[in-house]
């Protein structure tokens, strides 16, 4: 096939999966590419269909991507013998530094950058989104903390009569305190477990929805070990704190007062 194309002198292009799906194109199809709508163009053959990488910078940009041979694109766009950038592979970190210095010392009208530095410059969008998510996360944590505190206070206060009975049969304040705090911790851990499960299901749903919506393999929500650990630790700390507060109120009251007498 390739030899046949060479014989016919028809160039090949690579298109992305999105364009192939929307335009109903398959490998081997002949298409005309031009620099402007309706302008003069070249007939080319679709040589490959490529899947895009999970690149966050392409999110929400419903663009199609076509890869042509450099000389063909230069001719089509009347760009001349020019390129927008060069990518240079180096051997190790020292090689990168040396290449940067040598290129920048000898450069005529252009500048060499490390890929890492360019990534930092071009990630401004994600920094903003990340800051926004962090702020929303803090508000959510505050709301959850108040909710948890309230629920645990109610839960412990429900035990007024049990605590009174325990105190009346001679169980010490410390034992009562420990049992109440243990119960609060148990409820917190149980709730965290259920929460992690819901979070995992939600993140799977979010990923499935947005991956289909934006047609990207990018993962939008991640449940990592660190996040689970933070959620459980926060929930446990709040639960124990609420438990201690509520239990102290109970054990400091006289047993008969707890019974309402």
């Amino acid at each position: 096939m390739l030899l046949l194309l060479l014989a016919l002198q028809v160039r090949t292009i690579a298109i992305d999966q999105r364009l192939a799906d929307d335009a109903g194109l398959r490998v081997g199809d002949r298409v005309v590419v031009s620099a402007a709508p309706g302008g003069a163009g070249d007939t080319v053959v679709v040589g490959a269909i490529v899947t895009r990488r999970a690149d966050p910078s392409e999110i929400a940009r419903n663009e199609y991507r076509v890869r042509l041979h450099l000389d063909q694109l230069q001719t089509l766009t009347r760009y001349g013998d020019r390129v927008d950038r060069f990518a240079v592979a180096t051997r190790g970190a020292a090689g990168t530094t040396r290449a940067l210095e040598e290129i920048n010392d000898a450069a005529f009208g252009f500048h060499a950058y490390r890929s890492r530095d360019i990534a930092v410059e071009t990630s401004a969008t994600f920094k903003v989104v990340s800051r926004f998510h962090r702020a929303i996360g803090v508000i959510t944590i505050v709301a959850s903390a108040i909710f948890l505190l309230c629920i645990l206070l109610l839960k412990v206060e429900e035990r007024r009569r049990d605590v009174a009975a325990l105190r009346l049969i001679g169980i010490s304040r410390a034992s009562v305190l420990r049992s109440v705090v243990l119960e609060a911790a148990f409820v917190s851990v149980l709730g965290s477990g259920v929460g992690v499960g819901i979070g995992w299901v939600m993140s799977a749903a979010v990923n499935a929805y947005y991956q289909a919506y934006y047609r990207t393999p990018l993962r939008f929500a991640l449940v990592t070990g660190d996040i689970v650990l933070l959620a459980v630790a926060l929930s446990l700390a709040l639960g124990i704190g609420a438990g201690v507060l509520a239990a102290l109120r109970l054990v400091r009251s006289a047993p008969l007062a707890l019974l309402g007498r």
């Binding site: 620099a35 402007a36 709508p37 309706g38 302008g39 929400a60 940009r61 419903n62 009347r78 760009y79 001349g80 005529f108 009208g109 252009f110 401004a124 969008t125 903003v128 800051r131 926004f132 702020a135 929303i136 508000i139 959510t140 505050v142 709301a143 108040i146 909710f147 505190l149 309230c150 629920i151 206070l153 109610l154 206060e157 429900e158 009569r161 947005y210 919506y213």
Partner: protein, 401 residues
Amino acid sequence: MRIALALAALRRHRARTLLAVLGVAVAAAMLLDMVMLSTGLRESFRQLLLSRGFQLRLAPRGTLPFDTEATIPGASEIVRLLRALPGVAAVSPVLGAQLHVPRDSGAVTAFALGIDPAAQGDYELVAGRDAIAPDAMVANDDFLRAAGARVGDTLLVAAGYDPQLRTFTGERRLVVAGRARFLYLSAGQPAVALPLRTLQRMTARLRGTGEGGDDVVSLFMVRLRQGSDVEGTRRWIQAHVPRVDAISTAGAMARVDQRLSYFRQLGLILGAVSLIVGFLLVTTLVTVSVNERMGEIAVMRAIGISRAHVVQQILLESAAISLGGALLGLGLGLATARYLNGILSAFPGLPAAIDFFLFQPRAAWTALALLAASGVAAGAYPAWRAAGLPVARTLREEAVA
């Protein structure tokens, strides 16, 4: 009487009530913020698009305005065609490019707009004169600061740079005639505007001998007369000017909706979660409160207080918590919206005039009404339990306990 009893019941457990009100306040603040986020961004963008009265925008086919470097050839002919349409009041052709002001240490690069000063809708003149003369330009504060220039100064401005010869190309001396505020540009972006013909000539060499020569623009903005059929005109342009995509304000909104749908959906999801959290909090609190007061409610019923009275009192308790929380949340929500808007305003490429969290009274009332309704609904279950209380059995159990 009912209100007094409801408030007394809430005062009996001050700490608990305070926590519940705080919880509802945070949920209300989040709900308000998310309602503002899901509706405000769209409204803010619509206001910006219509701020100068242009209802249609014509971009190179397959692109959005200034989304790529594509241009529309044959600009003069298209302007003549559009101006001849009966419903068209004004046509503003715009060419976008980058200009450089050479300095000892490099160059100041600015976004440049080639405009027709008589019909432009891209900036508001703040001081000085408009860019009417061929060698005049107006600049924003960011450009003046970066270039160290003032109104009245003459600057050597270049359209490009030849890396082979290490020289600037398309150079021209331009006078800073005025200071302007650009409407559609992001904050901190140095920008200038100059007559369209001047910019076309300066940038002609960069485009080479491409189609259309130097008679190209990046965008047309079209203002229609009052009462004109916007969609009909858009369709006519789309059919008769094949090299452009005619985009109405509604069409632009739809595309923006698609691009920024993430924030709208996030707003809806977090808003719904906030509402559920507020609802659960009030339901739990009032249910526990009613459970603790079973004996008291049984006594009230025994001495002749009606079921309706008991139900109303419990609903009032939940409504009071929700209302208190909602009012507190309104202030909290406005403060957090301002903070969050500050974060998102740094979004690269978005016009500085866009507000992600636009306060609209309707949005605030919607949030408050939703929360108040959920507060009353939250009291429904405990109220139903209290109303169906078996009076004699409950009194006996309370006496035994």
